[in-house]
């Protein structure tokens, strides 16, 4: 199955801009389904971006992050062609990871 992480990392000069869109329901645990039962909380808690072994960005997320979450940030010190490793884990222990090429 295709990865749940879509990443776009573009380097211009010393600054690399990173955008990520992740396929995840991000259920808050407060919403009811059609039958009126609460949909249990199911959301990504930690999202990490690593560049040659070092964390460049770490997100701690709660249930108030939107469904199919999106995040954008930039960091210095990388160049075209380098790898950027992205991984997330959610409150049910599920996780996914992928590696993107900086273009």
């Amino acid at each position: 199955m295709a990865s749940t992480i879509r990443v776009r990392a573009t380097a211009n000069g010393d600054i690399t801009e990173v955008q990520a869109l992740i396929q995840h329901p991000m259920d808050s645990g407060f919403v009811k389904d059609a039958k009126g039962e609460l949909i249990p909380a199911h959301f990504i808690q930690e999202l990490k971006f690593e560049y040659n072994g070092k964390d460049v960005f770490v997100a701690d997320w709660g249930p108030a992050v939107s469904k199919d979450p999106y995040v954008k940030f930039s960091f210095k010190g990388a160049k075209k062609g380098d790898d950027l490793k992205i991984s997330w884990t959610d409150n049910k222990g599920a996780s996914d990871t992928t590696t993107a090429k900086i273009s």
């Binding site: 645990g29 919403v31 389904d33 808690q45 939107s66 940030f73 409150n91």
Partner: protein
Amino acid sequence: MSSTTGLLATRRLILQGAASVALIGLGNLPFGAARAAANDKYPEEAFKQKSEADAIKALYGKTAEPSDKIKLDAPEIAENGGVVPISVTTTLEKVTSISFFVAENPNALAASYKIPDGTVPSVANRLKMAKTTNVVAIVEADGKLFSATKEVKVTVGGCGG
């Protein structure tokens, strides 16, 4: 009119659910297996706090003062409470963490980001907002806390069905 049935009821339930997050006592969130990362621990306590003041204290252990060096970008009227694009950027120096709080959500803390050395102090993300309320961005720079606040109006769309 009495209760509605069929498609309409489903739409209303989901609409209510998505738009107005019911204030239900927070059961203990089922936490998964231990986190892989060694050092940074998931700020469980902070995410459990109701008000943003308590959440800030739980997360950082100190209080913040407003600063005009933080630019908080959020819509005046949210297109939809479920997907509110909010971003923050700052000219403060030595920033180590940026966090977002939605004051009147069931739990104020929405997201918290660690900004290692060499990472630009600016984040954009999409958050859920239960209703019209203040969005507060907190920036930890050189050990001190600064904040920026903006009210975002949230309501459901459509003509009611």
